[in-house]
Amino acid sequence: MKNKIYKTMDDAVADIPDGVTIFSPGFGGVGVPRNLLAALNRQGAKDLTGVSNNAGTVDEHVDIGTLVEAGQMKKMICAFTAATHPSQVTPFTKMYNDGEIDAELVPQGTLAERLRCAAAGIGGFYTPTSVGTELAEGKEHREFNGRMHVLELPLPGDYGLIRAWKADTAGNLVFRLTQRNFNPLMAMAATVTIVEVENDIVEAGELDPDLIHVAGIYVDRLVRIPEDGIWV
């Protein structure tokens, strides 16, 4: 069996080049690959495109916003390009307003389905989401069963940074509660999938095959989060 285990977060992201697309899952601060993002921040790759629910938060935690603030991102594809409240000014907000970073705003369910589509090898899909709004302008429209839909295209990525609860040496992954969010979709849609794991990585065969959320064939690299890593 191919060895997927890397010793450190830095080793696991060492070869990520400039200019690629990075998936960064997480929602409400849960399931964010903070250790891998911190390592990528140290590694210094730049001109990256990020796919994430948001472009970073106002809190002090390491997230995709850390890379935005460091000038490593040239574009963000996310469901929030402005905070819901004007008082929440993030590093992204400032840079976006100043024209220092590009962005594409995507409804959250469309973002999830575009990722699923990329993983599933499907050329696109029609959704009623955004019909009749600014976001649908310029998109192909088509009516199905009397209802208008817009065409949305897959969203593939080069590197998926993933946070899982459990993993085995075959790369099979298990998530806990709302940690799952975008993680399985991004793990399956990325060309190279790198996972930080909260528990010791167990031998193949020790996880129940019926309870696995992402099959190991999607997973390329696994790193156990060290005790002094970023946990919350």
């Binding site: 390009t81 402005a82 369910g109 989401t129 600014e134 509660l177």
Partner: protein, 224 residues
């Protein structure tokens, strides 16, 4: 006439929650709508759905009892209930677009008499915050809105036509503001209940759209 009062946010959300029917799957938006979960009625079972893929979660977790892996759509730590299930984001929005959600409650900047609403972008600010709002608006069986009737500057938010970019056309079924409860009918806003001390004429003065005032107009219903 009773003393004129504007409704508190909790009373507004209580009133929408009173409309939830037994067995409904309910999605509460971030901010004010989460207050709907503070209203409980033991005669009904409500199943909470959050866009991050948790179905059947319970009340907010008390300090010291939080689980770092369990949050609602606002990122607040919540508690598990028996029967709770977790899915990934595409499955969560499959439920939303697929018509599994009986009602979604959202905040808004504006609502118009044809059921359009706006809650994601203010043109004077670059970018927008959509989150799951467009998917929920397009997919949920009903959209309820909770918002103040006017802006801080006193401009009405209850309009003939939205001035801001809309989130979805023609989907709002019910609106609660600090002045009353409104149903959006094919003919426009119908005032169902007025805040204490407010006459229909006074509410109309705060509203751009023409209100339908039914003969059986009632005073606002508070939790008992």
């Amino acid at each position: 006439m009773a003393e004129k009062v504007k409704l508190e946010r909790q009373a507004m959300c209580d009133r929408l929650a009173m409309e939830f029917q037994d067995g409904w799957i309910v999605n509460l938006g971030v901010g004010m709508p989460t207050l709907c979960s503070n209203y409980s009625d033991s005669s009904r079972e409500i199943i909470n759905h959050a866009e991050n893929g948790v179905i059947g979660y319970g009340p907010l977790a008390k300090e010291g009892e939080e689980d770092r892996h369990l949050v609602n759509a606002g990122g607040q730590k919540v508690t598990p209930l028996p029967g709770m299930a977790c899915v990934h984001h595409a499955d969560s929005f499959m439920m939303i677009r697929g018509g599994m959600i009986d009602v979604t409650v959202m905040g808004a900047y504006e609502v118009s008499e044809n059921g359009d609403f706006a809650n994601w972008r203010i043109p004077s600010r670059k970018g927008g915050g959509i989150g799951g709002a467009m998917d929920l608006a397009a997919g949920a069986k009903r959209v309820f809105i909770a918002m103040e009737h006017t802006t801080r500057d006193g401009a009405t938010k209850v309009l003939k036509k939205c001035t801001l970019p809309i989130t979805a056309p023609g989907v709002v079924k019910m609106l609660v503001t600090d002045l009353g409860l409104f149903e959006i009918t094919p003919q426009g806003f119908k005032l169902l209940e007025h805040a204490p001390g407010w006459s229909p004429e006074e509410i109309q003065e705060q509203t751009e759209a023409k209100l339908i005032i039914p003969d059986d107009l009632k005073e606002f219903r508070f939790r008992s």
